[in-house]
């Protein structure tokens, strides 16, 4: 009984795993039958949280929404600088407190209605008046005073303080004639009336999101007819689907998978310099926004000397080589090197190369004497330096690098208890300050404001551990002063100088250490699609761009080669099935003949 139940469990597991391979292609086949024309099929492994433009915060959800909703300005393909979207031009007042946007004439929603300044004002005013509407992009409107639309093409935004993000407002503009009649917090109805190159026509949670070309799109309709995002539970399943020609574009590949695809003549790979960083945060004494201590972090980590020693004992180069297979950049400053204007690299005196001996002597000098078991003891609290390290369960980078960090810290007399935790639980625990060391990581934007804001005192939560997005619970008066300065500094060179000084403070205080900057590893079927527009260009991504250029540029390679390999797979499966059935039939027949022979005797 017991055996059977565990066998049942194991076979359920197998079925669940193969569902990644089996169930989803079934959906694809349905798509192919239901839709006409060329389809770009994209495999995604992250689930879509919501397709409500006011709520969605996941990478995949926002990526799909960017293809369906045009924003006031968009990030240029070449260097991510602001360029006209719905707004043809924009003008700040001399005091930078009033911004006037001129909305493009002639642009139409996907249902044929004209896009006017009233739609823009409606969207912004909804965010100002409704808390739910501020869920995803509230940071942009926090300092706004009023939004008005004096005529059909003019939108005027008044802000309380100068704001540099006014030319890069990452806010989907929604049609007033649809959204004024529905509940803002509800899931939208499909097809969704939009303004981008594609229209979202169907969505099944954990299965697929289906988009079709927006013929009304003001830049001109895309060259493909449909765009499907198919959810795969497992990256290996997605890669196999790419090899079999069941999908056309995949991202988030592991280094091993990326290398394995090198020899395939039908597949083109794209190794993009990443805009994401992986960090290890060290609880520097978590506290609420009002300064009340919360959580149960180890008291010794309040000492910056200890945090610096930990940072110095971690070898980013080895992590890049061994864990990321070389497809990453060695960690340095807080802003990823892709955003070269604001990126800062520690040099000279500030550089902190991997050196366990130096870390050891720094800890000796700071009074952390080793106990009998080789683990150092905090002289202030008398507690041994035994830290919990929380990692995202199932995330390959975390799971592979944790044994390295545990080994390196053991060498400097720090014991690490690695805990694998589900994403939501990890967020909950870190937000409430219940951690010593934890993995984290953020995706940078061309404008560094949002990422810098994570390390300010104001981003610490309230007493319930809610109400803000803390990262490391860092709180430093100098850092906060510089943060306010950079937010209203419109001279890019001067602003970059301030941002670099902020990164120096983070580096010196070490509430976090950057482990690496991931490359984005992508691959697509070059027998079916011509090269995509990369952003930034060169060296950029196809998927998860700051805009929609990758999907918008999709061009079928030629009419001939489509689904050849998948039909041959079907042939092989049929042949295999026939062989198996024939063998079983032969066996049954042979047995029956023997049985009757026995009976005859």
């Amino acid at each position: 009984m017991r055996q059977r139940r565990w066998a049942l469990g194991a076979s359920t597991l197998v079925v669940a795993m193969s569902a990644g391979l089996g169930a989803v292609p079934a959906a694809t086949t349905a798509t192919a039958a239901a839709q006409q024309g060329t389809t770009l099929r994209v495999a995604v492994t992250q689930e879509v949280d919501s397709l409500n433009p006011f709520l969605s915060i996941t990478r995949t959800g926002t990526d799909i929404l960017r293809a369906a909703f045009e924003e006031l300005t968009t990030a240029s393909a070449a260097d991510l600088s602001p360029e006209p979207g719905l707004a043809e031009k924009w003008e700040p007042s001399p005091d930078k407190l009033t911004w006037t946007y001129t909305v493009r004439r002639g642009a139409k929603w996907s249902d044929g209605q004209p896009i006017t300044a009233a739609d823009v004002a409606f969207t912004f005013n909804l965010m100002l008046s409704n808390e739910t509407a501020r869920t995803a992009n509230g940071n942009y409107v926090a300092q706004w005073e009023s939004v008005t639309a004096p005529d059909e093409t003019t939108v005027v935004v008044k802000t309380r303080a100068p704001q540099t993000t006014m030319v890069a407002l990452d806010i989907p503009i929604v049609p007033e004639h649809v959204w004024s009649k529905v509940d803002v917090g509800a899931e939208p109805a499909y097809p969704m009336v939009g303004s981008g190159p594609f229209v979202i026509t169907d969505f099944k949670e954990s299965q697929y999101t289906r988009l079709s070309a927006n013929k009304q799109y003001w830049r001109g309709a895309p060259k493909i007819d449909n765009l499907d995002f198919i959810h795969y539970k497992n990256a290996d399943a997605a890669v196999q689907a790419l090899r079999n020609g069941e999908v056309d574009l995949v991202n988030g590949l592991t280094p091993t998978q990326f290398d394995a695809l090198a020899g395939d003549p039908d597949i083109e790979r794209n190794n993009a310099k990443g805009k994401r960083f992986n960090e290890l945060v060290m609880n520097p004494g978590a506290a609420t926004a009002t300064g009340q201590p919360i959580g149960d972090g180890h008291p010794a980590l309040k000492d910056p000397r200890l945090r610096r020693a930990i940072a110095q004992a971690i070898d980013s180069k080895t992590i890049v080589d061994k864990v990321s297979g070389g497809y990453a950049t060695v960690g340095g400053g807080y802003i990823p090197p892709l955003f070269s204007t604001y990126h800062w690299e520690p040099t000279g005196d500030q550089a902190r190369p991997f050196d366990p001996a130096a870390a050891n002597s720094a800890l000796d000098a700071a009074g952390y004497a080793r106990g009998g078991d080789g683990v150092r003891v905090d002289p202030a609290s008398g507690r041994p330096l035994k830290f919990r390290l929380m990692l995202h369960s199932g995330k390959a980078f975390d799971e592979q690098s944790a044994p390295f960090i545990q080994g390196w810290l053991r060498d400097i007399g720090i014991a690490v208890d690695v805990r694998s935790v589900a994403d939501n639980k990890l967020n909950e625990d870190t937000t409430a300050g219940r951690f010593d060391l934890a993995y984290s990581g953020w995706t940078g934007n061309p404008d560094p404001d949002a990422v810098l804001a994570l390390q300010t005192c104001a981003s610490r939560p309230n007493a319930d551990g809610k109400g803000a997005t803390p990262d490391s619970f860092f709180c430093d008066a100098d850092y906060d002063r510089l943060y306010a300065q950079q937010g209203s500094e419109f001279d890019t060179a001067k602003r970059a100088e301030i941002v670099k000084r902020m990164q120096q403070i983070l580096h010196a205080q070490a509430p976090l250490t950057i482990l690496s900057y991931d490359n984005a590893l992508e691959a697509y079927r070059k027998d079916r699609f011509a090269p995509f527009t990369l952003s930034p260009d060169p060296g950029g991504f196809i998927m998860n761009q700051q805009s929609y250029w990758g999907y918008y540029s999709a061009t079928p390679a030629s009419a001939s080669a489509s689904g050849g390999s998948s039909s041959s797979t079907v042939v092989w499966v049929v042949i295999g099935a026939v062989v198996v059935i024939a063998a079983v039939a032969a066996l049954v027949l042979a047995r029956r003949r023997r049985a009757t022979a026995d009976e005859r005797e």
Partner: protein
């Protein structure tokens, strides 16, 4: 010298009888070639796992000291190739045996201990308390064990202890049912009644008569259960519910699948842990079957 003469220094006739029975059982066991083979494999695997720190260098499984390349195929230096961090797969399989066997054995002991206690108590005492306990057993019996184990490890947090607890807590009901049936069978025999008539209390009946009567069955059941517990451990570790840095066969399969070894065609990373699980489970099953036929003459081959 007033100390009393040591009375039971020379083994009495009971011991001689027991030794003879053991010898007979061993003789019967050795007649099962498959059982002997299984036992041999088990002894070898357990010896290798226990001696791993002596015969190999622990640095070889420390990622920060690994010297190999990423997913090197089998060759002269690494007989079974390397994993994604450059560690020898052979060494990992050897060290993985420690956790897999440890978890398998301790989870089985836990589940059999709970099962035996519940089984004997419900079989011996009867009454409403026992009925209640049996309904509880039935409740656990119909719960899907994998789902319950996953739920448990989510609540307690992943780790080796959690896996032991999860397997132990989910797999005891069948042992309880089995032991209860055997207890009822033993207690129906006349000598129990006689023992009661002579004034034997509950403790005496359970300790002297019922327990020895059910122990052989418990032993066989334990041997057979270890195999399934090892499979269960691998399943849970594969699902990421184990200690994230401990090396076990299940966690090796998990790392292989997470790092994309399937796509890379790195069979040497997937096959050895899978094969190791299969071989050890088979060995336990062979041993258990042979022991079963030793203890139950009806199963003996003619």
């Amino acid at each position: 010298m007033t100390a009393p003469e040591p009375v039971e220094r020379t083994p009495g006739p009971a011991w001689a009888r027991r030794r003879a029975a053991a010898r007979r059982a061993w003789g019967e066991f050795t007649r099962h070639r498959a059982g002997v083979l299984g036992l041999g494999v088990l002894v070898l695997v357990i010896a290798l796992a226990a001696l791993a720190p002596l015969i190999t260098d622990a640095d070889g499984v420390d990622v920060t000291r690994a010297t190999g390349g990423r997913l090197e195929p089998p060759g002269g230096r690494y007989w079974l190739g390397t994993d994604e961090s450059g560690r020898s797969v052979l060494l990992l399989v050897l060290w993985g045996a420690r956790i897999s066997l440890l978890v398998g054995l301790s989870a089985t002991l836990l589940s059999i201990a709970i099962g035996t206690v519940v089984g004997i108590l419900t079989g011996h005492f009867g009454g409403w308390g026992s009925a209640l306990l049996m309904r509880l057993t039935d409740f656990f019996l119909v719960l899907p064990s994998l789902v319950l184990a996953i739920a448990l490890s989510t609540v307690i947090g992943p780790g080796v202890g959690t896996i032991v607890l999860a397997i132990g807590v989910t797999s005891w009901p069948s042992a309880a049912r089995l032991v209860r049936a055997q207890t009822l069978g033993v207690e129906a025999r006349p000598y129990i009644e006689r023992s009661r008539a002579l004034g034997g209390g509950h403790l005496h009946v359970i300790g002297k008569h019922v327990l020895p009567g059910v122990l052989p069955l418990v032993l066989v059941n334990t041997t057979l259960a270890v195999g399934t517990a090892i499979v269960a451990e691998s399943t849970l570790a594969f699902l990421g519910l184990g200690d994230p840095v401990a090396i076990s066969w299940g966690s090796m399969l998990r790392s292989a699948s997470n790092s994309g070894a399937v796509t890379a065609g790195a069979w040497w990373y997937l096959v050895p842990p899978g094969l190791a699980i299969a071989v050890v489970v088979l060995a336990f099953t062979l041993c258990g079957r042979a022991m079963e036929s030793v203890l139950n003459p009806r199963l003996r081959e003619r």
